[in-house]
Symmetry: C2
Subunit: 318 residues, 2 copies
Amino acid sequence: MSVAGQQFETDLVELRNRVNARLADYMTTSTDCPEKLREAMSYSLLAGGKRLRPVLVLLACEACGGKLEEALPAACAVEMIHTYSLIHDDLPAMDDDDYRRGRLTNHKVFGEGMAILAGDALLTLAFEVLARDIQPAAVAAACCADLASAAGCCGMVGGQVADLEAEQQLEKQNQNSTDAHGSGSDPEQNRVHLAQLEAIHQRKTGRLLTSAVTMGARVAQASVDSIHRLQEFGKRVGLAFQIADDLLDVTGDAAKLGKKVGKDATLGKMTYPALLGIDASRKKADDLITEACRLIEPLGAGAHPLGELAKFVARRDH
Amino acid sequence: MSVAGQQFETDLVELRNRVNARLADYMTTSTDCPEKLREAMSYSLLAGGKRLRPVLVLLACEACGGKLEEALPAACAVEMIHTYSLIHDDLPAMDDDDYRRGRLTNHKVFGEGMAILAGDALLTLAFEVLARDIQPAAVAAACCADLASAAGCCGMVGGQVADLEAEQQLEKQNQNSTDAHGSGSDPEQNRVHLAQLEAIHQRKTGRLLTSAVTMGARVAQASVDSIHRLQEFGKRVGLAFQIADDLLDVTGDAAKLGKKVGKDATLGKMTYPALLGIDASRKKADDLITEACRLIEPLGAGAHPLGELAKFVARRDH
């Protein structure tokens, strides 16, 4: 790894530590929260993880000349939303997963009822933190609007529904044909599936990642042009992130990932490697990151760490 | 019924209609929402009901000299929160109810996964609507903070957890003793139970009702003193509302209520009638409403409809 690369990884650990410390603070300062609920919320919120979304908030803020410290509440808010979505997605009525990041899922430890409530509470706390701790109030309101729009029925939750529907549709098609999708067997159908996959991911993960960078920019009181650049940057990074995720399920190391690999293929899921092949998927991710970095170039040297993060996202091994 | 009372009921219908129309608008203008999700959200959000919380927002705004129209987004937001909480409470992992307001519960119609997501989406939409549609931004942020604090881990969700815990505790006590609670059998234990019950309801329903009136006041850009008065008003009305609810479970008409009665007693739940008796519960509710109305007297004639609503809440038959 290059010296610059090593420095970036050190900086990343430092940023994660700051986010983790603030998240822990938010858990302890909710003094009127019943102990069991706080335990369930903390179990998932303080479970570690890459903290990609919060770090995006912080580096986007810095890229626009803002103070990292002032963006911490927004960084924590987006992680709360991400965590709640994982808790609810893991529920038996949804993906029914027993493990997450190598540990038992929330409902396996606290029960389904408590897991639903812990998710609800984290979702709500995200907006409390934004509305109360971001200054000035106009920026707080804009951040609330960004995050809610990204996380709600037209964003992440909508993407989750669209994903469930696409899976059901695919199952039906697979029952009717043994070759409903695959690498290049029917170019036209592949093209349709690819567009569908992109639309789902754009909502399911892309919108939230994009809200992370726009919130960072808003805290820095960036210009409309900068916010727009970061929006386009976020879209591309979000998609590259998802492609990398799909690739890891094919080529990754289960121990590093803390979860099973090959699950997508077993489930016959639509993924980039399944539709494009591994090499073309890798290239697509790289191209998206190149474009993303070009988009934020006009922001100057302050945006370099954000570009580094984008590269890291597309090339990560866990 | 008095002429004034009749006029109030007519006004109430008019306010409900305005709320219902705006809620329907919010469902249709979420254009990028998957159809099935919109259907699940609308099924519960547009199911009617008393719309007590939104009407409290509107009348509190009017009581502080604000324009009703400007408070409509906050009125809708609090109803979205209330609706999401009902959808999640009804889930098999929580209260496991098949009927709500005389109709099948959300998960019975759309399945558990979709019901969880519909709840999540409504919870999120509440904050989107507030942050985007309330003006000026400082008021929007203050409303978001009020609502999130009232709905979250230290408010409604926390109350739900405390309620579940109290029920479990009571079950244990009932196993050890056949007379763990009841009307006046052990005054000291009754006192403890009453304090516990009040604390639970304050979080479970009181905080959200209180946020309804403070949001209304904020939209009207009311003074700190007026907001404080409305907070104290909200606390008392919230408690009276819960006592009335408990009384309806004993004395109510199942057809009017659209749900079974006598369920609390069957479940051996802590309720006001069980702890205080019916007459004392009725008196307590009336006293709370008298106090509440006295608190808002200094706001003048504009606050009369809000006082009327408080009386209606404590004396309602469904």
